[in-house]
């Protein structure tokens, strides 16, 4: 697995190193060649055409870029694309579609746990990682688990309500 630090060429863009990666992206095996210094977020947004993960800071400070890497919520701006070879990445586009929403997406709509929506893909994926690991969290646990995802529109109360609702739906026996 490529674990080189990001290097910046002092020459032209063409002279920069690229790495071949093969990862499972939203359930599909995906091959790409990416510049070594690209973050996962850059790969998703600039090359894979997946713009659901947002860039709010590019510094691991806001959570807008949250995706799941082998099921764990990570800041995609803090992971190098080259590191994801052989691994599983899920972005918001892989969770559900408007026709087939995931219970979390559905719950965010029911509880109106969104305003501008810019932070929401990250909030939902952070919540998914939480519920996958802890199916029955309480409100305090949800608040803590999502404390790395900023929402300037101030949806925190409703987001916690929506995550608890989704947890309850997910615990229901198969309908």
């Amino acid at each position: 697995m490529a674990r080189r630090a990001a290097t910046r060429s002092s020459k032209s863009p063409a002279a920069r190193h690229v790495t071949q990666i093969e990862l499972e992206l939203n359930g599909r095996v995906t091959r790409a060649s990416v510049p070594d210094h690209w973050t996962l977020l850059e790969f998703l947004r600039k090359s894979a055409g997946l713009t659901g993960a947002k860039e709010g800071c590019n510094a691991g400070e806001c959570g807008a870029c949250t995706v799941l890497l082998d099921g764990v919520a990570v800041y995609a701006c803090c992971v190098l694309a080259a590191e994801t070879s052989g691994r599983r990445v899920m972005t918001i586009e892989g969770l559900g579609t408007p026709e087939r929403l995931d219970p979390l997406q559905e719950a965010f709509l029911v509880d109106d746990a969104l305003q501008c929506g810019f932070c929401i893909p990250g909030q939902i994926l952070a919540a998914k990682a939480l519920l996958d690991a802890e199916p029955s969290p309480d409100r305090e646990c949800v608040r803590r688990a999502l404390s790395g995802n900023l929402c300037r529109c101030g949806c925190y109360v409703k987001i916690a309500t929506a995550v608890l609702r989704a947890a309850a739906i997910r615990r229901e026996p198969e309908r």
Partner: protein, 773 residues
């Protein structure tokens, strides 16, 4: 326009961000108020929610065009400096760089009277040069190749330094200006006077004088400022993360000398504005200019650091206040002398007036305010959610509480006793006023009767209750045009220029149109914020979108309905006046005979019905304001000096609530921003260089989920509001106004100590706790 009153126009008044302006309005067709509604007033799901929760929503940041270049800006590292020499050639020669601009290349381009690139920096972060390259790394590398010989000048960072005799003049008129909504006359404060405040103060039975200070606070939209510009011949298309596509278009047309017909500005989704995205900014112009020079589309998106360093903010304030009261608690005099450092603000910059609350909140015959704006070597501020009122309420609403303490009166009662039946400034009646109900219902919800004095409290954790109020001009008004189109299959498109900032504009406009037309919401699509296809309105600012555009949408839908019933009349062999539209069918009110809306539309020669209407005037002689009373319950940790907001109650009169779900989200969001302002947020700068020290989200702390109270109770305390055809006033700004004061008052109730400087940090709180009471 198919309006009967098309020819008649009148002058009317509109209040934007606390400032009253006169506009002309077309007299509108009067619609009776809605009776029982089936869609309006219901918590309908957001129409754009599915796009937002699946990542399908495309924001300006997400726009990708073929051949798109990445634009970057060289900014001044100095708070005040001259560029003696600028070497751009090495950057221009770097392979992949397709356009470079320096101040000399954009001499004639003006944005609101200001240059877009400057060879004289008046703040750290000011734009000096710009370039565009095939990828971000190349653009950054090219920036590092630009050679600048700086002549640094001593910056003027603090208002005291700017006002000191012999201070370098930052602008020809000097550094001291009148405050108010924007910079006013040089040399003198903006003065407001009613009655004789100094005399009333001197004669008052009780007088208190206090000083309050508030920080520079930043909008911190999660989507940073940005634009993508693309030329097609001599036409320009710009995606901008903005609150107002028409203001962006006007700025571009003026700066570039283009006709409005050639400039298309779109904003399908945007990641937060809060007042910082009301028009085009320098990055917008630079994107357009670089795109023209390179012949390629250019994406110019600010980094988080740039968004902080060069971005907008709510100016800090120092407010010297005095209040005079009778022993029984009637307010007889109020004065304020306010100083606002406003950086490099020039005419046209707008930042709100922090003395507004002193004028507006209470019935008080004797008021005098003096307001200064002081120029410093810092970026210009801008409107930020209830500009001015947030700072002013922090001061006034604590002063009133301090007076209540002094007199031994209950703070809620003291407020109720001093509310004004009419607008205290103009003396004119309010169109509706639910402030007293806000206070009563909110007090009940928080359990105000259980409030104990500070002396009854001991131990490390101390709990307290606090209250504060707000009034805010939020009646909206013209100009706002809406168009409703009924297509041949019965589906409906609502066209409005209004941006949806996340407030639910698209959703409530859908509800209004569907309600008026009598069709299902699923048949209605709102297409908005595109200057080429949607009609004119003001930006989504000043809490005015619903109350401005909403009535226009209802009128346009009513016009479509009128034409629809006329067309149905021969088919149903009944006069149009006996017909109504229900669940997608035109129906005879008595016989029940019906015909589907779709088949009527399809039978028309035009195969469509179009209704266009515009917002009519506001009623003369009435003051249109929203009101709120907010209550905080805090727990102070006396060991660490931290404050937790345990419960929060936010009671509002915003007229009719069109969608309780989106409304309460907006209210809760305002409360959260208020909590940040009260406890966390302040821009800090290096006192030597003037550079921002906390230009990142770890250091400029906005509230996180654990900073939020677990619940924020939102109460609708509105009486009926007759001043427009949908019965709604604005609600965007009122929820932030009283928050910080309510929290500071709760901290005082918990500890017996007054924190007169925001934010209430642990250091300040511990210092106050260790001082003698």
């Amino acid at each position: 326009m198919s309006d009967d009153c098309a020819e008649k126009t009148v002058e009317t008044e509109l209040e934007i961000e606390g400032r009253k302006v006169k506009v002309r309005a077309q007299v509108e067709r009067q619609l009776p108020p809605w009776g029982k509604t089936t869609l309006v007033g219901k918590s309908m799901r957001r129409v754009d929610g599915p796009d937002k929760v699946t990542g399908a929503a495309r924001y300006t940041h997400d726009v990708q065009l073929s051949g798109m270049l990445y634009g970057k800006v060289l900014r001044s590292p100095h708070a005040r400096a001259r560029v003696a020499e600028l070497g751009l050639s090495a950057a221009a020669k770097l392979p992949g760089v397709l356009a470079v601009l320096g101040p000399g290349d954009v001499r004639g381009v003006r944005l609101g009277g200001q240059k877009v690139l400057s060879a004289e920096a008046s703040y750290a972060g000011e734009e000096i040069a710009a370039l565009a390259a095939t990828d971000e790394e190349t653009a950054e590398e090219a920036l590092s190749l630009i050679r600048v010989r700086w002549e640094p000048l001593p910056p003027v960072l603090e208002p005291e330094d700017a006002m000191a005799p012999g201070a370098p003049a930052l602008q020809p008129g000097g550094n001291v200006l009148g405050g108010g909504f924007g910079p006013q006359t040089p040399g003198k404060p903006e003065v407001y006077e009613r009655g004789d405040a100094p005399a009333a103060l001197a004669a008052a039975e009780v007088e208190l004088a206090r000083v309050y200070e508030t920080p520079a606070a930043q909008h911190t939209c999660l989507e940073t400022h940005g634009a993508v510009a693309a030329w097609d011949g001599d036409g320009l298309t710009v995606w901008e993360s903005t609150q107002g596509v028409f203001f962006v278009r006007a700025a571009l047309c003026e700066a570039l000398g283009l006709p409005a017909s050639r400039v298309r500005v779109l904003c399908p989704f945007m990641g937060g504005g809060f007042g910082s995205k009301n028009s085009a900014d320098r990055h917008t112009l630079l994107a357009a200019l670089l795109a023209r020079r390179s012949g390629r589309p250019v994406r110019m998106v600010l980094s988080r650091r740039e968004d902080f360093e060069a971005g907008a903010y709510r100016p800090a304030s120092r407010q010297q206040m005095a209040i005079g009261l009778t022993r029984r608690g009637r307010i007889v005099a109020l004065t304020s002398r306010a100083v606002n450092p406003v950086g490099a603000a020039l005419e046209g910059h707008y930042f709100g007036s922090c003395v507004g609350p002193v004028h507006d909140f209470y019935a008080c015959a004797n008021v005098r305010t003096e307001n200064y704006a002081i120029l410093t070597s810092s970026p210009p501020p801008s409107a930020f959610r209830a500009p001015g009122h947030v700072q002013g309420a922090f001061a006034l609403e604590q002063l009133v509480d301090e007076a209540a303490d002094e007199l031994g009166l209950d703070p809620v009662r003291l407020r109720l006793a001093n509310l004004s039946a009419n607008d205290p400034d103009s003396g004119q009646p309010f169109a509706s006023n639910g402030l007293a109900s806000c206070l009563r219902l909110g007090a009940k919800a928080i359990g105000w009767d259980s409030r104990k004095p500070p002396r009854a409290k001991a131990g490390r954790f101390r709990s307290g209750l606090g209250v504060a109020i707000a009034t805010w001009g939020a009646g909206g008004g013209p100009p706002a045009v809406a168009q409703v189109v009924l297509h041949e299959d019965g589906s409906v498109v609502v066209l409005t220029g209004a941006c949806d900032l996340g407030t639910g504009t698209r959703t409530v406009m859908t509800q209004i149109a569907a309600e008026e037309l009598g069709v299902a919401v699923s048949t209605v699509l709102v297409a908005n914020a595109d200057t080429r296809t949607t009609p004119y309105c003001l930006p989504s600012f000043g809490s005015l979108t619903v109350a401005s555009t909403g009535p226009a949408v209802r009128l346009a839908a009513a016009e479509v309905k009128r034409q629809l019933l006329d067309a149905a009349s021969p088919i149903l062999e009944a006069p149009a006046s006996s017909l109504l539209v229900m669940r997608g069918k035109v129906r005879h009110a008595v016989t029940g005979k019906s015909v589907a809306v779709a088949s009527i539309a399809a039978s028309l020669p035009a195969r469509m019905i179009v209704g266009t209407s515009q917002r009519g005037p506001n009623p003369d002689g009435l003051v249109l304001a929203s009101f709120s009373a907010q209550f905080a319950q805090v727990e102070v940790d006396c060991r660490f000096g931290t404050v937790r907001v345990k419960r929060f109650v936010s009671a509002h009169d915003c007229g009719r609530v069109l969608n309780p779900a989106t409304w309460s989200s907006q209210i809760q969001g305002g409360v959260l921003q208020g909590i940040g302002y009260a406890l966390l947020e302040q821009r800090t700068r290096d006192p030597g260089t003037g550079r921002q020290l906390n230009a990142g989200l770890l250091d400029y702390k906005i509230p996180t989920a654990p900073d939020s109270p677990p619940e924020i109770e939102v109460i609708d305390a509105a009486p009926p509001y007759p001043a427009n055809n949908i019965g709604a006033k604005g609600s965007g700004e009122p929820p932030i106004i009283p928050v910080a004061a309510a929290i500071a008052n709760a901290v005082a109730n918990a500890t017996g100590r007054r924190l007169r400087t925001a934010p209430i940090t642990p250091a300040r709180l511990l210092a106050a706790l260790s001082a003698e009471p």
